[in-house]
């Protein structure tokens, strides 16, 4: 206890000036916290979020087809659990092979707390609450199984694991959009969190290869490629995203022969992709600039072809350096999907706007926007945390290389 007092004194009351600032800030903070609590517990009516929770989650996705989304969530939970467990099944030297490191126990605790609290707070029916609990249990159990027995799996099976995610993405697209015997659900019916996640994940996946190509083009010795890339990158980076989305919605139909133009949701997703690619290219370019030229020369003198040297020597180093900037771009991209609401699509913010237009929920802006803000904050902060963990994992100085 005395140490706490000493710390408080040195941090808050070191000088008279500091003390005045601290007291003023503490007063303002206390007043703000009291005001907020009073509003959140007494005045706010959270029914607007509870009643519309399905709308916020999936938009106008047909109810009789929603089992497909539940199935997809279950597959995602299983894959996430398996990947997580397999990462722990092969202990790194610095982690001495513990099955449940401290951070993992913390993550599971948070996961279970969220699974217990969110369905309760949203006032979901018992049947749906049960589904959330089962999903969480599935993730944790598979995480445990993979961590416990993953190391003993046959190598052929282990090599399959990285392929699970791309396959799952394709399966997910079929489950969401229909086809292969499933009833078609038009993109116009996707909405809410589903649309936000789908548009951002689509753009993140596809902007990566395009961005790398553009970055290579910008550093190329060939003038035509270089100037073409520079022109594209600077043009896209100079225009606000909303004007590009506007262009996609209003001009793309004129640019393509009749009937070939994709529907409104896909147009927006492609515009997001090409928009993000220009920014990603700049992030990758900074990474490429950090790789000494000698690396390429050494690789070439060992007899690797230009493409091999790039793929095996230069890019792995460049992408590692560029990783923080790249994840920063992905986070902005996730935030930029809110602009879809301005061109009339029903992403999370678009759903919020339609809910607000309902006379029954007039004036309940604060509750809805606060919920969305917390949701976005959690997603973006999680991406940032993941990026930092990945950086540590990829840092060649932190992990001794295996000989």
């Amino acid at each position: 206890m005395p140490s706490l007092i000493r710390r408080l004194r040195s941090e808050l009351f070191a000088t008279p000036g500091d003390a005045v600032i601290s007291i003023a800030l503490l007063t303002i903070l206390a007043a703000a916290a009291a005001g907020f609590l009073h509003w959140a517990l007494r005045q706010a009516e959270w029914a607007v979020v509870q009643v519309n929770s399905t709308l916020f989650a999936v938009g106008r996705y047909p109810i009789e087809q929603q089992w497909r989304l539940w199935l997809l969530t279950a597959l995602l939970a299983a894959a996430a659990g398996a990947t997580w467990g397999m990462l722990r099944a092969h202990p790194r030297r610095d982690r001495t092979g513990r099955l449940w490191p401290r951070n993992d126990r913390l993550a599971v605790a948070v996961l279970i707390a969220v699974a217990l609290w969110v369905p309760f707070a949203l006032g979901l029916t018992p049947a749906i609450q049960l589904r959330w609990w089962l999903l969480t249990a599935l993730l944790v159990v598979i995480r445990w199984l993979a961590g416990r027995f993953g190391a003993g799996l046959p190598p052929a099976l282990k090599r399959l694991l990285p392929i699970v995610w791309p396959v799952l993405y394709l399966v997910g697209m079929v489950l969401i959009g229909g086809g292969l015997g499933l009833a078609r659900v038009a993109p116009a019916e996707w909405g809410g969190l589903l649309l936000t996640l789908l548009a951002s994940s689509f753009a993140i996946l596809l902007c990566l290869p395009i961005g790398v190509l553009l970055a290579l083009g910008r550093r190329s010795d060939l003038p035509l490629l270089r100037w073409g890339s520079v022109l594209y990158i600077e043009f896209i980076r100079g225009a606000p995203l909303i004007t590009l989305l506007f262009l996609g919605q209003n001009i793309l139909g004129f640019l393509l022969p009749g009937g070939l133009a994709p529907d409104r949701v896909w147009r927006a997703a492609w515009v997001l992709t090409f928009f993000a690619a220009a920014y990603l290219a700049e992030a990758v370019r900074s990474g490429l600039a950090a790789v000494p030229r000698g690396q390429l020369e050494a690789a070439r003198s060992l007899g690797l072809s230009s493409a091999q040297a790039l793929r095996l020597v230069v890019l792995p180093q460049a992408l590692r350096v560029a990783l923080p900037a790249m994840v920063g771009q992905f986070i902005s991209l996730l935030q930029d999907t809110t602009l879809l609401s301005l061109i009339g699509l029903l992403d999370l913010l678009g759903v919020a706007r339609t809910v607000m237009a309902n006379p029954a929920f007039l004036g309940r802006n604060a509750e809805v926007y606060l919920t969305l803000a917390i949701l976005f904050w959690c997603c973006c902060a999680a991406l940032g945390l993941g990026s930092r963990a990945l950086e540590r994992r990829l840092d060649p100085h932190a992990v001794p290389s295996r000989v």
């Binding site: 941090e11 070191a14 600032i21 935030q335 301005l342 926007y369 976005f376 902060a381």
Partner: protein, 338 residues
């Protein structure tokens, strides 16, 4: 020492290098192929564009700019009414955009500098609050913040005598009233006349919400730039200056800032350009900026291509102007070598 990255391999057979492996030929073949594909794609798209526009009767023309706009603009610095032509409407929108960007730049720079400096404060609470502000703001989409400021904060303000009143500032649902020079160059504060506020300077709530959102959002990013710049100055510089007898402010002014600015100015350039582009989200809070006028114009005339061209040209010019000014500033603060 210059090392040739890839010396031409001696041909084992002693024959002539085939052209598809000749380093003098291959790059040009690659470029020609890529160029051809791009040209063909552009020709294809433009061909479709011309064909489709002709079919729709919308072939590129600028004559519609002189037709009366037929819509009004709620706030404009240049005189405007519905009888004036479209180009005047677009110009009024552009002026509104520039106004928001200029005020936003000044506000965000002030806020960002204060918060960036606060993260070096001795006061632990102030330091943490600065971090929390940056982390909260950066992880929430700007558009969400803008609609929050507009619908939750500014549109729920009371009117008349119940309005928020500070010395020289009155914040009401009908607008933001600021003290300023009134008639006869007298300093005039906001006054309540028959239940309606009057003041030399009145901003609409739309403009106020847009400015608040832009300043709070960009301020967080600028705070990070300023923090990075100050952190880049080695601690020894502070210590050396104070051991020479310089005070805190003199150290900041003469020793630290000149060095920090070299790192800060390029970062500010990026943030200023983002702010200019982000001002286009004004349409979400009902402020009639260039994009909002352009959207209305498109809905009325159907001139999609021309409107998009105007938008892109305007924003690219705005970015270029900001970049030019910031590059000039950058030259000023860089190390002057003899």
């Amino acid at each position: 020492m210059a090392v040739e990255p890839s010396p031409p391999r001696p041909e084992a057979s002693g024959g002539v290098t085939p052209w598809w492996r000749d380093r003098r030929v291959v790059p040009w073949v690659v470029q020609a192929a890529v160029g051809l594909v791009v040209l063909l794609a552009i020709a294809f798209l433009l061909g479709n564009l011309v064909r489709n526009l002709t079919a729709a009767g919308l072939l590129l023309s600028w004559r519609w700019l002189n037709q009366p706009a037929g819509f009004d603009i709620s706030e404009s610095l240049i005189p405007f009414n519905a009888q004036l032509p479209y180009w005047r409407a677009l110009a009024a929108g552009l002026v509104n955009t520039i106004r928001a960007v200029l005020v936003g730049l000044v506000g965000a720079t002030l806020l960002g500098t204060l918060v960036g400096m606060a993260s070096f404060s001795h006061n632990g609470l102030l330091k943490r609050l600065a971090r929390i502000y940056v982390e909260v703001v950066r992880n929430i989409p700007l558009l969400l913040q803008l609609v929050f400021w507009y619908f939750v904060v500014f549109l729920t303000l009371p009117n008349g005598a119940a309005a928020l009143q500070l010395p020289g500032i009155v914040l009401a649902k009908s607008g933001l009233y600021l003290a300023g020079l009134g008639e006869g160059l007298r300093w005039l504060g906001p006054q309540l006349v028959n239940g309606v506020w009057q003041a030399p300077i009145r901003l609409t709530v739309e403009f106020a919400a847009l400015l608040t959102g832009l300043i709070v959002y960009s301020g967080a990013f600028i705070a990070e730039v300023v923090r990075g710049g100050l952190a880049a100055v080695p601690k020894g510089q502070w210590e050396a200056a104070s051991s020479l007898g310089l005070g805190w402010f003199a150290t900041l002014r003469h020793i630290v800032l000149p060095q920090a600015l070299r790192v800060i100015v390029p970062g500010l350039n990026t943030q200023y350009i983002s702010l200019a582009k982000n001002s286009s989200l004004a349409v979400a809070v009902g402020y009639t900026d260039l994009y909002s006028v352009a959207e209305t114009t498109l809905n009325q005339t159907g001139r999609a291509v021309e409107v998009v061209l105007v938008l892109l040209a305007a924003y690219l010019t705005l970015d270029l102007l900001i970049s030019l000014v910031m590059n000039g500033l950058n030259h000023l603060v860089q190390i002057k070598e003899r």
